[in-house]
Symmetry: C2
Subunit: 195 residues, 2 copies
């Protein structure tokens, strides 16, 4: 086997570890915590399914790939809960080191390609990144909503915190932003989200 | 919310159940059993990563989508182990019923699109389906190999059974077929796969 293929297969095996990175979100039916690989799969399917609601035309293959790869860095950096302000202070530095180590396992051309893609997602400045970010927000929201908002309840989250996070959904899709606003409103009304 | 979007979101929530369908393959590092959603995520990333080895030019977005969706039917039909000959007798009928129920949750155009895509994957007669099938075979193989072939050992699998399954890998990628042949050979030599 040549060196290029060996590097690619080593990377393919390395990212298996993403299945052991667990998030705060629970599966529907009051299931267990979700892991990063499942979350990425779900986001990617939803991106394709809901692409007609993107604010701008998107290269859907690029959006799907962004969704699939955006959490690879968490193999080293761990999951940072969206409402954990302390952990978020060190998130960027942790993820930068992780990005270097993990993507450097690849042949140079693919290392560069995946790094650029990851950075584009993080910067949220292209149509594809904006729509992928909308999926990153919407996917856990529909799971949490299906469980009566229990993830918010568990952490005592306030509506304003969710609104702040969902601002990025609006950049990706006005239509899906309305869905999230409606979900937030209903969860405030029934008391699972603090006003 | 209009009826179309409601149907799409209901489908998005329904497929969450794929995370509860567990396979015979174990995660690397002698981890727990893998589930269908993780498997689909891993295959889809590998398809993009290794697309240069496809025997024929492929529409990679279509391959990725096939990988992401190919096991949705197992929400109802359950996972059928590749070497369980009894279960394989009823697999097609079980998956047909599942396909009808699950994809019919979608708006008609998307129901038809996803059904055709699923059937194309199953038939394995297009370049995209052949490469997606190669990923479906290669992904569990590299996990199992990383664990010293313990999944084969547990079930007393013979090399001939693995060869038979991997014939489809050859149709998708001659290069990756060589990788699988090499893995099979090494596992026979060390006794984790029966000759």
């Amino acid at each position: 086997m040549d060196d290029r293929l060996k590097k690619q297969l080593d990377f393919a095996l390395e990212i298996d570890k993403e299945k052991n990175v667990f998030r705060q979100t629970h599966l529907s039916g009051h299931g267990r915590n979700e892991n990063d690989a499942e979350h990425a799969w779900h986001m990617s399917v939803m991106a394709y399914l809901l692409r007609e609601y993107a604010n701008e035309p998107v290269d859907i293959a690029k959006v799907m790939l962004m969704c699939l790869l955006h959490d690879v860095v968490e193999i080293d950096a761990g999951d940072t809960y969206a409402y954990d302000e302390e952990a978020k202070k060190t998130q960027s530095e942790r993820e930068k080191r992780a990005k270097e180590r993990i993507f450097s396992m690849l042949p140079e051309d693919q290392r560069d390609e995946f790094m650029v893609l990851f950075e584009e997602f993080e910067a949220c400045e292209s149509p594809e990144a904006r729509f992928a970010k909308a999926m990153d927000n919407l996917q856990p929201l529909i799971l949490n909503n299906s469980n009566g908002g229990s993830d918010w309840q568990e952490h005592g989250i306030k509506a304003a915190q969710v609104h702040k996070r969902q601002d990025k959904t609006k950049l990706g899709s006005e239509t899906l932003y309305k869905v999230t606003e409606d979900i937030i409103q209903k969860n405030v009304e029934k008391g699972s989200l603090l006003p």
